[in-house]
Subunit: 420 residues, 2 copies
């Protein structure tokens, strides 16, 4: 296996560091718009790693770099604006493709908070036939969320439930960052995209539909000491992926943003600073074009550099409600928690990016072994979850399960406590 890893930011650098401890591949080319950043990411990882410069917005450049290095698998670790050129570039070069976020959505032009427009991943699924015909695999959404959360959904359907009413992904943390008024622990560009786009929901009777941002607030009690966090609907790939392969009546995604972050995002939107449309700054010939969202992202501290100031745990998981194998009502939360102290000590990467990065590396190893295989555009829930969950545990990062029914009472109490 010869891998091209596109993007040497937080997630890309962590993926390279995780892969460096495994022997399933021969070469990993780490490519970034900034060669210096790519060089920093491969530094000290050994001679299977090579740094390269790449403009990820150019499919031809991606294909050229693949051919130059005989790449068999492209792992996309840049922000989702670049999904399509990297996806197409891999295809043209005859390589398989993996990403952790899917092609971007466009809201419905007249009815954005009810109807879907162009959906997340729709551009990629539109090319599924071509990928299948070429016997190439695009394994999309194989980070932690989407990714591990989808694998949990499939695992629940295969091994825990006879019938599923709702699959609700729930993400929350108690991470704090010392010394900053405001320092998100994940890409603000992507967080804005997720949180300010109309959230999407899937129901068996209705198909996909949208709601207003921050809808259906709920307090979810996260495990391993994280505790209750306010969660709201956000647009996320799981809602697009899970219903394609797993039978359920309803699929949702709620993100534990917390009240302060929600207010900040509302203000960012009010000021138009979520906009990705470039505007002119300055006058005459010296005017430059920038997008307000890029400026916001550049002004905030780089989340990948905050690890040593971060404290706490992050949890990704899937809450499944329905009937157990015995036909009786069942509710389970399948989850994965990473403690920042552990990921910093073990890998030198902060918890949120480490938790995202470990999953595509596990997936690549399963593909290298031939345990996972397929063709076309597939989500993680299209493949057998058991070997994945076992290998993830073997990487030193076990997952957990919690019978959710006793927690309903606790959650209700927590909700009242927060409301008080």
């Amino acid at each position: 296996m010869r891998i091209l890893l596109v993007g040497a930011g937080g997630v890309g650098s962590a993926a390279a560091a995780i892969a460096a401890r495994r022997d399933f591949f021969q070469l990993m080319v780490v490519a970034d718009y900034s060669l210096e950043r790519a060089e920093r990411a491969v530094s000290g990882l050994g001679d299977r790693f090579v740094a390269a410069r790449l403009d990820a917005s150019q499919a031809d450049d991606v294909a050229r770099l693949c051919r130059e290095h005989g790449i068999t698998h492209v792992l996309n670790a840049v922000d989702p604006r670049f999904v399509m050129p990297i996806f197409d570039g891999a295809y043209h070069a005859g390589a398989d493709y993996l990403d952790m976020a899917m092609s971007l959505s466009l809201p419905h032009p007249t009815d954005p908070y009810t109807k879907t427009g162009v959906m997340l991943g729709e551009q990629q699924f539109g090319k599924a036939v071509a990928w299948e015909a070429a016997d190439r695999l695009a394994l999309v959404g194989i980070g932690v969320e989407p990714g591990l959360s989808d694998i949990f959904a499939r695992y629940a359907a295969d091994h825990l439930f006879s019938e599923i009413d709702e699959i609700g992904v729930r993400d929350g943390s108690n991470i704090t960052v010392e010394g900053f008024d405001f320092a998100p622990s994940f890409s603000i560009w992507t967080t804005i995209e997720e949180c300010l786009n109309p959230p999407i929901i899937w129901e068996r009777e209705r198909g996909w539909f949208t709601t207003a941002p921050f809808s259906e607030p709920e307090v979810f009690d996260f495990p391993e000491g994280i505790g209750p966090v306010e969660c709201v609907n956000v647009e996320h790939e799981e809602v697009l992926l899970i219903p394609r392969w797993v039978d359920a009546k309803r699929v949702t995604f709620k993100y534990g943003l917390g009240t302060e972050f929600i207010e900040i995002l509302k203000t960012v939107h009010k000021l138009g600073l979520d906009s990705t449309r470039p505007i002119a700054i300055g006058g005459g010939k010296s005017a430059v074009m920038v997008s307000p969202r890029d400026v916001l992202a550049a002004q905030l501290p780089d989340p990948a550099t905050l690890g040593s100031r971060m404290k706490g745990k992050t949890c990704a998981g899937t809450w499944v409600k329905g009937k157990g194998l015995d036909g009786r009502p069942r509710e389970m939360y399948l989850y994965h928690v990473v403690d920042n102290e552990w990921s910093m000590r073990e890998y030198g990467h902060q918890a949120v990016v480490w938790q995202t990065a470990v999953n595509p590396v596990v997936a690549l190893e399963l593909l290298a072994q031939g345990v996972w295989k397929g063709a076309g555009v597939l989500g993680p829930e299209a493949l057998d979850p058991v070997p994945f969950l076992d290998l993830l545990t073997a990487y030193g990062s076990p997952w957990g399960m919690r019978d959710q029914q006793p927690f309903r009472a606790v959650t209700q109490a927590a909700r009242e406590e927060i409301a008080a």
Copy 2:
């Protein structure tokens, strides 16, 4: 009189339109970084008006343009970053100078919310001796606030009070802008500068000192139907100017921002978007440098273009407390209200910029007549307020006075109503 008006934004364009109805000058050159904008400002105003291109950051360019047109008076109507090059350029060309905002402050390096650093206007007052020696006048802070507010302070001291305890400038409006989530009616660049810098206060015993942003919130009941608005301390030139020429125990400035605007400014600060330090956007050779505050300003609607969507009145005024000429306790609020409907109908310029722009034009006319004269760096309160207030009224924009004592009870009731 031959005038160079620097800046064809909202205030500059309104000043040109107001001056066009008066015959006290021979020439007005309207100069802007964008020649197109300057041409738009002079269009239809007659042949005393000429448009020119000017880089206001270059003192030599300012001086060159002054010499080219035989300029006698430079009126600075751009944002306060450009005060020093325009001030110096006018001096070098032997012209008199007027502005509506003074040279910028720098917070105290270790104790910003208690001690002053470089104060507003300090760079200008540092050159007062040179201006005086050259027998040239720099009349600084002659907009509405500073400007008319300072003239009110001097009028109160000369004609209404025997002793003054406090002079507190209070600014508020009930202006709304239709069709925007958020659309400030004045330059956001300047508003951020005023509101996020440490507010300054003057006391006879203590001199100048600073506090934390948004300190000492108070509800002030504005006249002519505007009503109660939450006001907080902000950094403003009056506090620096008034104590130099008017005897008072304490001088403050509070701005009626309202609760929503205060929260937005706090978030802007938390995100670092108030910063004027340029940051790199994009990577490699295509990276461009922009300051986050410039991007925020460019993304929001231009306040000068909002007049037709605005509704309501804006009030600038000076609240004076002390002893009347009869030695008995007295409290008066001297104020000037502009109704947006009136300014749009009469001049085609919105109320907030019109109210700022009318004052330097009145001042220029008094200088042209020889009624006002002086040398050195002077604030508006250094000159006789009566001819100014009379001429302002003659311009069709009268001022008012309110005995403030009965309003203390009303204000207390309003404060309780808002708190409830």
